[in-house]
Chain length 93, copies 2
Amino acid sequence: MAEKGTVLIGRKPAMSYVLAIITGMSSGDSKEITLKARGRAITTAVDVAEIVRNRFLKDLKISKISIGTEEIPPREGENRARMVSTMEITLSK
Amino acid sequence: MAEKGTVLIGRKPAMSYVLAIITGMSSGDSKEITLKARGRAITTAVDVAEIVRNRFLKDLKISKISIGTEEIPPREGENRARMVSTMEITLSK
Protein backbone atom coordinates (compact mmCIF):
# COMPACT_ATOMS: atom_id res chain seq x y z
CA MET A 1 0.00 0.00 0.00
CA ALA A 2 1.26 3.43 -0.96
CA GLU A 3 0.67 5.11 2.40
CA LYS A 4 -0.92 4.07 5.66
CA GLY A 5 -4.57 3.27 5.15
CA THR A 6 -4.63 4.19 1.46
CA VAL A 7 -4.85 1.95 -1.60
CA LEU A 8 -4.29 3.48 -5.03
CA ILE A 9 -6.51 1.68 -7.53
CA GLY A 10 -4.96 1.28 -10.98
CA ARG A 11 -5.15 -1.15 -13.86
CA LYS A 12 -4.73 -4.46 -12.06
CA PRO A 13 -7.71 -6.82 -11.70
CA ALA A 14 -10.07 -5.88 -8.85
CA MET A 15 -9.14 -9.00 -6.86
CA SER A 16 -5.50 -7.85 -6.44
CA TYR A 17 -6.72 -4.77 -4.58
CA VAL A 18 -9.33 -6.77 -2.65
CA LEU A 19 -6.53 -9.01 -1.36
CA ALA A 20 -4.34 -6.01 -0.41
CA ILE A 21 -7.21 -4.49 1.56
CA ILE A 22 -8.12 -7.73 3.36
CA THR A 23 -4.47 -8.20 4.31
CA GLY A 24 -4.11 -4.60 5.45
CA MET A 25 -7.28 -4.61 7.51
CA SER A 26 -6.64 -7.97 9.20
CA SER A 27 -2.96 -7.53 10.06
CA GLY A 28 -2.65 -4.18 11.75
CA ASP A 29 -4.93 -2.24 13.98
CA SER A 30 -6.07 0.00 11.15
CA LYS A 31 -9.71 0.88 11.49
CA GLU A 32 -10.20 2.46 8.09
CA ILE A 33 -8.86 2.38 4.59
CA THR A 34 -9.31 4.77 1.67
CA LEU A 35 -9.42 3.68 -1.97
CA LYS A 36 -8.25 6.34 -4.41
CA ALA A 37 -8.81 6.13 -8.15
CA ARG A 38 -8.99 8.29 -11.22
CA GLY A 39 -10.32 7.96 -14.76
CA ARG A 40 -11.27 4.46 -15.85
CA ALA A 41 -10.04 2.99 -12.55
CA ILE A 42 -13.04 4.56 -10.78
CA THR A 43 -15.22 1.62 -11.85
CA THR A 44 -12.61 -0.77 -10.44
CA ALA A 45 -12.57 1.13 -7.14
CA VAL A 46 -16.35 0.72 -6.77
CA ASP A 47 -16.04 -2.99 -7.65
CA VAL A 48 -13.28 -3.44 -5.06
CA ALA A 49 -15.25 -1.68 -2.31
CA GLU A 50 -18.36 -3.75 -3.06
CA ILE A 51 -16.50 -7.09 -3.22
CA VAL A 52 -14.63 -6.44 0.05
CA ARG A 53 -17.80 -5.38 1.84
CA ASN A 54 -20.21 -8.01 0.47
CA ARG A 55 -17.99 -11.06 0.35
CA PHE A 56 -15.16 -10.68 2.84
CA LEU A 57 -15.26 -8.01 5.54
CA LYS A 58 -18.97 -7.68 6.18
CA ASP A 59 -18.48 -5.48 9.23
CA LEU A 60 -16.99 -2.68 7.09
CA LYS A 61 -19.15 0.37 6.38
CA ILE A 62 -18.70 2.95 3.65
CA SER A 63 -18.00 6.02 5.75
CA LYS A 64 -17.22 8.47 2.96
CA ILE A 65 -17.41 8.76 -0.82
CA SER A 66 -16.15 11.84 -2.62
CA ILE A 67 -15.52 12.75 -6.24
CA GLY A 68 -13.38 15.47 -7.77
CA THR A 69 -11.37 16.60 -10.76
CA GLU A 70 -7.61 16.67 -11.30
CA GLU A 71 -5.54 18.28 -14.01
CA ILE A 72 -3.17 15.94 -15.82
CA PRO A 73 -0.15 17.43 -17.68
CA PRO A 74 -0.44 17.20 -21.49
CA ARG A 75 0.93 14.08 -23.17
CA GLU A 76 3.80 14.37 -25.64
CA GLY A 77 2.55 16.00 -28.82
CA GLU A 78 -0.44 17.56 -27.09
CA ASN A 79 -0.48 21.08 -25.77
CA ARG A 80 -3.49 21.10 -23.51
CA ALA A 81 -3.76 19.73 -19.99
CA ARG A 82 -6.52 17.16 -19.60
CA MET A 83 -9.00 16.99 -16.76
CA VAL A 84 -9.60 13.64 -15.15
CA SER A 85 -12.26 12.64 -12.63
CA THR A 86 -11.17 11.23 -9.28
CA MET A 87 -12.94 9.27 -6.57
CA GLU A 88 -12.20 8.34 -2.98
CA ILE A 89 -14.07 5.67 -1.03
CA THR A 90 -13.36 5.23 2.69
CA LEU A 91 -14.25 1.95 4.38
CA SER A 92 -14.37 1.85 8.20
CA LYS A 93 -14.88 -0.80 10.88
CA MET B 1 -34.93 11.64 -18.93
CA ALA B 2 -36.26 8.30 -17.78
CA GLU B 3 -38.20 9.56 -14.77
CA LYS B 4 -38.53 12.89 -13.06
CA GLY B 5 -35.19 14.03 -11.74
CA THR B 6 -33.27 10.94 -12.83
CA VAL B 7 -30.74 10.49 -15.62
CA LEU B 8 -29.61 6.99 -16.54
CA ILE B 9 -25.99 7.15 -17.65
CA GLY B 10 -25.09 4.71 -20.42
CA ARG B 11 -22.63 4.51 -23.29
CA LYS B 12 -23.13 7.90 -24.91
CA PRO B 13 -20.41 10.55 -24.61
CA ALA B 14 -20.46 12.45 -21.29
CA MET B 15 -21.52 15.69 -23.00
CA SER B 16 -24.87 14.22 -24.11
CA TYR B 17 -25.80 13.66 -20.49
CA VAL B 18 -24.38 17.03 -19.42
CA LEU B 19 -26.71 18.70 -21.92
CA ALA B 20 -29.73 16.68 -20.72
CA ILE B 21 -29.04 17.74 -17.13
CA ILE B 22 -28.51 21.41 -17.94
CA THR B 23 -31.79 21.42 -19.91
CA GLY B 24 -33.66 19.58 -17.16
CA MET B 25 -32.38 21.79 -14.38
CA SER B 26 -32.98 25.09 -16.22
CA SER B 27 -36.44 24.41 -17.64
CA GLY B 28 -38.51 23.08 -14.76
CA ASP B 29 -38.56 23.86 -11.12
CA SER B 30 -36.63 20.69 -10.27
CA LYS B 31 -34.24 21.30 -7.42
CA GLU B 32 -32.31 18.06 -7.66
CA ILE B 33 -31.29 15.41 -10.15
CA THR B 34 -29.91 11.92 -9.63
CA LEU B 35 -27.43 10.26 -12.02
CA LYS B 36 -27.62 6.47 -12.04
CA ALA B 37 -25.00 4.25 -13.64
CA ARG B 38 -23.67 0.75 -13.51
CA GLY B 39 -20.53 -1.04 -14.63
CA ARG B 40 -18.23 0.90 -16.95
CA ALA B 41 -20.70 3.80 -17.08
CA ILE B 42 -19.80 4.69 -13.48
CA THR B 43 -16.74 6.57 -14.72
CA THR B 44 -18.94 8.50 -17.16
CA ALA B 45 -21.37 9.38 -14.35
CA VAL B 46 -18.54 10.90 -12.30
CA ASP B 47 -17.29 12.81 -15.37
CA VAL B 48 -20.81 14.13 -16.04
CA ALA B 49 -21.32 15.27 -12.43
CA GLU B 50 -17.94 17.02 -12.40
CA ILE B 51 -18.41 18.73 -15.77
CA VAL B 52 -21.91 19.99 -14.87
CA ARG B 53 -20.76 21.28 -11.51
CA ASN B 54 -17.41 22.82 -12.52
CA ARG B 55 -18.26 24.28 -15.91
CA PHE B 56 -21.98 24.94 -16.11
CA LEU B 57 -24.17 24.93 -13.00
CA LYS B 58 -21.75 26.10 -10.35
CA ASP B 59 -24.45 26.49 -7.71
CA LEU B 60 -25.11 22.73 -7.68
CA LYS B 61 -23.84 20.71 -4.72
CA ILE B 62 -23.30 16.97 -4.54
CA SER B 63 -25.86 16.06 -1.90
CA LYS B 64 -25.48 12.30 -2.00
CA ILE B 65 -23.25 9.60 -3.47
CA SER B 66 -24.00 5.93 -2.98
CA ILE B 67 -22.64 2.70 -4.43
CA GLY B 68 -24.14 -0.77 -4.56
CA THR B 69 -24.27 -4.10 -6.35
CA GLU B 70 -26.89 -5.49 -8.73
CA GLU B 71 -27.36 -8.99 -10.08
CA ILE B 72 -27.55 -9.20 -13.87
CA PRO B 73 -29.22 -12.26 -15.49
CA PRO B 74 -26.74 -14.60 -17.25
CA ARG B 75 -26.03 -13.91 -20.91
CA GLU B 76 -26.88 -16.51 -23.55
CA GLY B 77 -24.50 -19.45 -23.22
CA GLU B 78 -23.61 -18.57 -19.65
CA ASN B 79 -25.24 -20.13 -16.63
CA ARG B 80 -24.25 -17.81 -13.84
CA ALA B 81 -25.69 -14.46 -12.94
CA ARG B 82 -23.11 -11.69 -12.90
CA MET B 83 -22.75 -9.02 -10.27
CA VAL B 84 -22.34 -5.46 -11.42
CA SER B 85 -21.48 -2.37 -9.38
CA THR B 86 -23.86 0.57 -9.38
CA MET B 87 -23.53 4.21 -8.42
CA GLU B 88 -25.92 7.07 -7.78
CA ILE B 89 -24.90 10.71 -7.58
CA THR B 90 -27.48 13.32 -6.53
CA LEU B 91 -26.90 16.97 -7.44
CA SER B 92 -28.98 19.62 -5.64
CA LYS B 93 -29.46 23.38 -5.86
